[in-house]
């Protein structure tokens, strides 16, 4: 275990030293993953479905805020979808404008979650997002995560129905629009997953703020159990089927990810908790102080001795 603590301290030191380079690198990799996934899943426009375009866009995003990445990803998505179906592109444009104007007008800091959520869903670990968001963000982030879930299922719908959407249809624009909207709104799995994420975030957020020992660990477990419960309720009420092995594997992986996050961000030693009471003119204070775990890095000194073969001058 001590090796892990030392590794954590080294990692912290490394980040503190090179954060000027690490932050743009993280943004670059994140952008590359986002654009590659968009091109890989919906790459209908041949001009944009190109590795060079992905790299160029990721490079731009590496030096700019996450909002720009969301904007570029939205444009890329719309470009691909418009070459599949104009009606679908119109609906997607309206949906994106709704999200951007109504939500990001108020809370622009969470924009990266709009991209991160579909990535986690794509990687089959959707249950990690509510736990991680509940541990690191506020309750309002649940709205962004729900929007991300919606975007993922819209993209999945487009991917699965690419042939139908792009084929010559005898239906008019109005009928096609109605059909698409009806199909999207009747996606019960999307509604259940949105509810699951929202409830998961709420539970994790509320528990991790409780003044009890191991609140973060309890929050992670409770978040996972709540999500299982929500899925079962969704299964019962809306007849939504989620494959059990995938659900369990996703939950275990999500909990492991959350545990890694917990280890790096909130490492405290509850055995050395101090309780202090004092008062001033206005208040009585009951303070619980939990010390952070800090490990000093091993101070290795290497003493070199010149050997005879190399150290000719020494002999002379």
């Amino acid at each position: 275990m001590i090796g892990l603590w030392v590794f954590r301290e080294k990692l912290k030191g490394f980040y503190a030293r090179f954060d000027v380079f690490i932050n743009p690198l993280i943004r670059f990799v994140f952008g590359l993953v986002v654009f590659h996934m968009l091109n890989g899943n919906l790459g209908a426009m041949a001009r944009l479905n190109n590795g060079l375009v992905e790299v160029m866009m990721a490079l731009v995003c590496s030096v700019l805020p996450y909002g720009v990445m969301v904007f570029l990803a939205g444009i890329l998505l719309l470009a691909h979808v418009s070459s599949i179906s104009l009606e679908m592109a119109i609906i997607l444009l309206v949906l994106l404008l709704f999200i951007l104007i109504l939500y990001f007008g108020l809370q622009p800091r969470d924009s990266y979650l709009l991209l991160l959520t579909p990535i986690f869903f794509h990687l089959k670990i959707p249950y990690a997002i509510p736990i991680l968001v509940g541990l690191s963000c506020g309750l309002s982030s649940a709205v962004t995560v729900c929007c991300g879930v919606m975007l993922f299922y819209v993209m999945q719908y487009i991917k699965q129905n690419m042939g139908t959407l792009s084929g010559d249809s005898t239906l008019g624009i109005a009928e096609q629009l109605m059909q698409i909207i009806r199909t999207l709104l009747s996606n019960r799995l999307m509604v259940v997953m949105m509810a699951t994420c929202a409830v998961g975030i709420l539970v994790v957020y509320l528990i991790r703020r409780l003044p009890v020992n191991f609140s973060w660990a309890i929050a992670i477990v409770a978040g996972a159990l709540t999500q299982i419960g929500a899925i079962f309720i969704g299964d019962f009420l809306f007849d939504v089927s989620v494959p059990m092995p995938q659900l369990l594997a996703g939950l275990i992986l999500s909990m492991a990810l959350a545990a890694v996050y917990h280890f790096f961000v909130f490492a405290v030693d509850y055995t050395r908790t101090e309780y202090v009471q004092f008062e001033d003119d206005d208040y009585y204070y009951y303070v619980k102080a939990v010390p952070k775990i800090a490990v000093s890095l091993p101070d290795i000194k290497v003493q070199r001795f010149n050997d005879r073969r190399r150290g000719d001058d020494f002999d002379e």
């Binding site: 309206v94 709704f98 104007i101 109504l102 108020l106 629009l177």
Partner: protein, 142 residues
């Protein structure tokens, strides 16, 4: 000679500025009422724009139904329904915007108080240093 306490104070102020810069500028630039009313206006315009977008989409979807209606009342009635939904949604959205902006401004003004207190402390440090220097010069005079 370096003053360690002053350096610590300046560093903490700089870190605070970096972390809370946007919040501090909010308090510097606007009065509370101005900030909230500005955001409410933006929210009103944004919501209305989105509602119009939604309405256009709904009209396009139901264009055949609308065109097949003969009487004016049947055309107007659904729009009254949409209007009621618009008003209800607008009230809820403005209430949320008000709550968010109010809390944000209150948080920012608390941050501003902390920032001002630290700056005053730094200023006192400078004044104390200046006085000490003047006393030192005075002492050297014959």
């Amino acid at each position: 000679m370096l003053n360690e306490e002053k350096i610590k104070l300046m560093t903490s102020i700089a870190i605070f500025e970096k972390a809370e810069g946007s919040n501090l500028s909010l308090v510097k630039r606007y009065f509370k009422s101005d900030y909230i009313s500005r955001n409410l206006l933006r929210a009103f315009l944004g919501y209305t724009f989105c509602w119009i977008l939604g309405l256009v989409l709904a009209v396009v979807c139901k264009i055949e139904d609308i065109l097949s209606i003969v009487t004016l009342e049947d055309v107007v009635f659904p729009f009254v329904d949409y209007g009621v939904w618009y008003l209800l949604g607008l009230i809820v959205y403005l209430a949320v915007t008000f709550a968010v902006c109010y809390r944000r401004y209150r948080y920012a003004s608390r941050g501003m108080k902390v920032y001002t207190a630290r700056l005053k402390r730094l200023q006192r440090r400078y004044e104390f240093q200046d006085r000490a220097r003047e006393r030192g010069k005075g002492g050297q005079k014959p």
